[in-house]
């Protein structure tokens, strides 16, 4: 939505939501490109399907709610939700799994709570968590092996027919567990050097995944440079994750090393594109740092001692719960006023 009149802080020019969201989409392209190069057509097909379905759901609910359809569709937020789901779902996830994720994201998590700006939880991650809990088989076994490892990589039509089928799992030879999952399960009775022999780890991190994460990092830095997001959430996020990994996981024979935590999962996508959702994140700069750090710490906890392969969705949702609390304790000082009152007023102040 564009606001014609700005109160403080005085922006130099109004940046409409549609423009912001368009930049988010553009910034995600390097990561999507890397995914397509290394993991095949799956992500691209998922993105197209999720974006189309997200727009259709948004339009249908807006019509039911008697809202102007064109006005809200043009703000591109539904497209971004679909895009994020398409980027984060497994490459060979069947169409109905991604479909259920998109419908619950747009219809339940966004529109039933009142539409753009009123949703307490990140819609894309609500959809992701719902299908992850509902269909653990489809969501953990359908990750594509990096294309470099394949003898015969499935082409576009093969990928499309796999996604379009009703079956829960794709052809066994095309898929594998994610590197983080692989490492966590193998390290229990092996040394780090033995586990890293597996070709999925490439030169010691994770083949393909490192480039995907680099792509999202580049796109994320572009967003920071354009001042579409501030640096606080990604920095807090990565610092929290790194601090936990250095404190508890320095022994590579027991836990996945820091490099793998940063570059082998959904870390960069989460830090720059998902956690920074302006609606469901904390508001003030200090709050954003706390919010991001909380997500980073939770990701390490769930990845290392939980039973799910990755943890971005759950961590973001858990910190979404904490946002009102964080905001309550971190209002910034307003220019020209006394120090802001934080938290519940104590009795002494009366």
């Amino acid at each position: 939505m564009a606001f014609a009149q700005q109160s403080s802080p005085h922006a130099h020019h109004a940046r409409p939501t549609s423009r912001v969201m368009l930049w988010v989409i553009i910034a995600a392209l390097p990561g999507l490109f890397a995914q397509t190069v290394f993991f095949g057509w799956g992500n691209l097909i998922n993105v197209v399907w999720c974006v189309a379905l997200a727009m259709a759901c948004e339009a249908a609910i807006l019509k039911l709610r008697n809202k102007p359809i064109g006005f809200f569709l043009k703000d591109n937020t539904a497209a971004v939700t679909g895009l994020l789901l398409g980027l984060s779902l497994p490459q060979f996830a069947p169409w109905w799994v991604s479909g259920i994720a998109v419908v619950s994201a747009i219809v339940v998590a966004k529109q039933l709570y009142g539409g753009l700006g009123s949703n307490p939880f990140n819609p894309a991650m609500v959809g992701y968590a719902l299908v992850l809990i509902s269909f653990p088989v489809a969501m953990t076994t359908n990750w594509a092996e990096p294309a470099l490892l394949w003898k015969g990589a499935p082409g576009f039509s093969e990928t499309l027919s796999t996604i379009a089928s009703a079956k829960q799992t794709a052809v066994d030879g095309w898929t594998m567990a994610t590197p983080l999952d692989e490492y966590k399960h193998k390290i229990a009775n092996r040394t780090a050097a033995e586990v890293l022999q597996h070709p999925t780890f490439g030169n010691g991190i994770a083949r393909g995944w490192e480039w995907v994460n680099a792509g999202f990092l580049a796109g994320g830095l572009l967003l920071v440079l354009l001042r579409i997001i501030t640096w606080h959430i990604p920095v807090g996020f990565l610092a929290g994750l790194a601090a936990m990994s250095l404190a508890f996981g320095s022994n590579a024979d027991q836990y996945a090393p820091l490099s793998m935590h940063l570059l082998a999962g959904g870390t960069m996508l989460g830090a720059f594109f998902i956690a920074t959702d302006p609606v469901s994140a904390a508001t003030s700069h200090q709050g954003k740092l706390i919010y991001g750090a909380g997500i980073g710490v939770l990701i390490y906890l769930i990845r290392t001692w939980g039973s799910y392969p990755d943890a971005v969705a759950f961590s973001v949702l858990l910190m979404n719960f904490a946002v009102p609390f964080i905001d309550h304790y971190t209002p910034p000082r307003t220019y020209g006023h006394h120090k802001a009152r934080r938290g519940v007023p104590s009795r002494k102040q009366g």
């Binding site: 269909f135 653990p136 489809a138």
Partner: protein
């Protein structure tokens, strides 16, 4: 206290003041056991029986129990009926009793039952009290069954599975499987699915009420036009 007519009691229990959809009481069993229709019917029937018994008993002793000790007395009456229900289920539907587990004894803590005893049965004669217990119990049972059917259908892709646990061997092949090779949707089987399902049911009920209200207003003759009155300069003209 105004006395309610029988039809008001029936309408309140089943719809207008439904324990699950309007009072939103007794959520613990409602959310925990409604994963299949048979569980829902089992718990619903037990609750119905307890509610009728406790309402009748509370109404009978209402003049002999002092205000200050009424709640302990009510709870003891309810607990006795729950024990009866538990023993009956052990005797006749042992497998279902084992599935429902702790939620049968927990009927004692169902606020809907204590609420009816205190708010209605202790202030009225046995006849209306028994009718109120029956209608509130049926309203609760109906919501349990609808929610159970919804969660069973979406969660496991079946309807009326294991009905033989409650109704004997003749109900063993009542199970309906509308879809072939249905992937289980664990979300609906787990408690969060029950919350979402109950929320949707409450929204549906409110939607129906709004719709009926609108239709009633549309068919009602419009109130006399107020345009021809004298001009008022204070107060509101409604």
């Amino acid at each position: 206290m105004t006395t309610k007519t029988s039809s008001e009691i029936i309408r309140d229990g089943l719809w207008n003041n439904n324990p699950a959809l309007v009072q939103v009481l007794g959520l613990c069993p409602l959310l925990a056991v409604t994963s299949t229709v048979v569980n829902a019917i089992g718990l619903g029937l037990a609750t119905l029986m307890v509610l009728m018994g406790s309402n009748l008993a509370v109404s009978l002793i209402r003049n002999f129990v002092g205000e200050s000790v009424r709640l302990p007395a009510f709870v003891m009456i309810i607990a006795s009926f729950v024990t009866c229900a538990e023993l009956l289920m052990q005797a006749f539907t042992y497998e279902l009793y084992q599935i429902l587990g702790i939620f049968i004894p927990l009927i004692v803590t169902n606020c809907a039952i204590l609420g009816r005893a205190d708010a209605f049965a202790s202030k009225t004669t046995p006849g209306p009290a028994l009718l109120d217990g029956a209608m509130m119990g049926l309203g609760f049972l109906a919501v349990l069954v609808v929610l159970g059917g919804m969660r069973e259908l979406i969660g496991q892709g079946t309807l009326f599975v294991d009905m033989n646990l409650l109704l004997g061997p003749m109900a063993a092949d009542w199970v309906i499987r509308p879809f072939e090779s249905y992937p289980d949707v664990l979300f609906m089987v787990l408690p969060p699915g029950a919350f979402v399902g109950l929320g949707l049911l409450i929204a549906l009920k409110n939607g129906i009420d709004n719709h009926l209200e609108k239709r009633r207003k549309a068919t009602e003759p419009a109130p006399a036009a107020s345009g021809s009155k004298r001009v008022r300069v204070t107060g509101n003209v409604s």
